[in-house]
């Protein structure tokens, strides 16, 4: 089973709460703004991410999702 980690850049308001709670210090705020003018969070060190979901719990805007992707459909 694989997982897809996604930050919806347009939902993100760049508050930085996820950046502060990430236990692996994976997240950072982007230098480029989104459609609302906020600077959204992104995974700067993606390889360190263990998909613990702490950022999802903290995010006030439900901008971060972790969805399971089954391998069969991913191969197509």
């Amino acid at each position: 089973m694989n997982y897809q980690y996604q930050i919806d850049a347009d939902r993100c308001k760049g508050c930085g709460l996820c950046v502060a709670v990430c236990p692996k210090k994976v997240l950072e705020l982007s230098q480029t703004n989104n459609s609302k003018g906020y600077f959204p969070a992104y995974r700067a060190r993606e390889e360190d991410c263990v998909l613990c979901g702490t950022c999802c719990i903290m995010c006030p805007d439900v901008a971060i999702t972790i969805t399971p992707i089954d391998n069969a459909s991913a191969e197509k």
Partner: protein, 246 residues
Amino acid sequence: MARVFQKPKSMTSAHTHYCPGCTHGIVHRLIAETIDELGIQDRTVGIAPVGCAVLAYHYFDCDFQEAAHGRAPAMATGIKRVRPDLLVFTYQGDGDLASIGMGEIIHAANRGEKFTAIFVNNTVYGMTGGQMAPTTMPNQKTTTSPAGRDVTNCGMPIKIAELISALQTPAYVTRQTVIKPKYIIKAKKAIRKAFEYQMAGTCFSLVEIVSTCPTNWGKTPLESIKWTETDLLPYYQLGDCKTPDA
């Protein structure tokens, strides 16, 4: 093992209007997750307050009714008495519940109305521009107390959870916060417990949630969380104030 995380079904895909770092969104999500877990989306009615959460009906995918300022408990009483099979919750801020709506909440709790009140306490009137609320901390600067809250003039902040739990009527009254993941998990459990008491027809329940308001506090989201931890939590102590079993 990865933790799967998706938007709860009981939340719409609308983007919230809350300021960056405002914890209203977290409380919304916790309620929506609880509604999903209990499978009560089709028979839940929320009562929106007047305050920052006035547009809450845009964000919840369940029935909603807007109440006059502070009158959400009165409206919830009406709905719950006419349709006891529905699950009713009010979502109120501190300007709404602790100030103008103080009479409604006290009497609804005293009558033991079987609904759930979610009380988000961020110590200011958020929507109207950060005026002093009954829950504003001593010496906290707001637009109507620019020199800080003067306790000789305005008294000490009201602890709603303790106030409600002083009533004799059985109730579930608890205070939680959502400033850190560990507290969010506890707050979720408390909200779920409150809904479960309501489903069982046990008692009135009130969940006070100590929240942040970065914009009106004049702080960054992270500074707000720090200030909540150092200044608010010692005064607004977390934990269950009253349980129906006790």
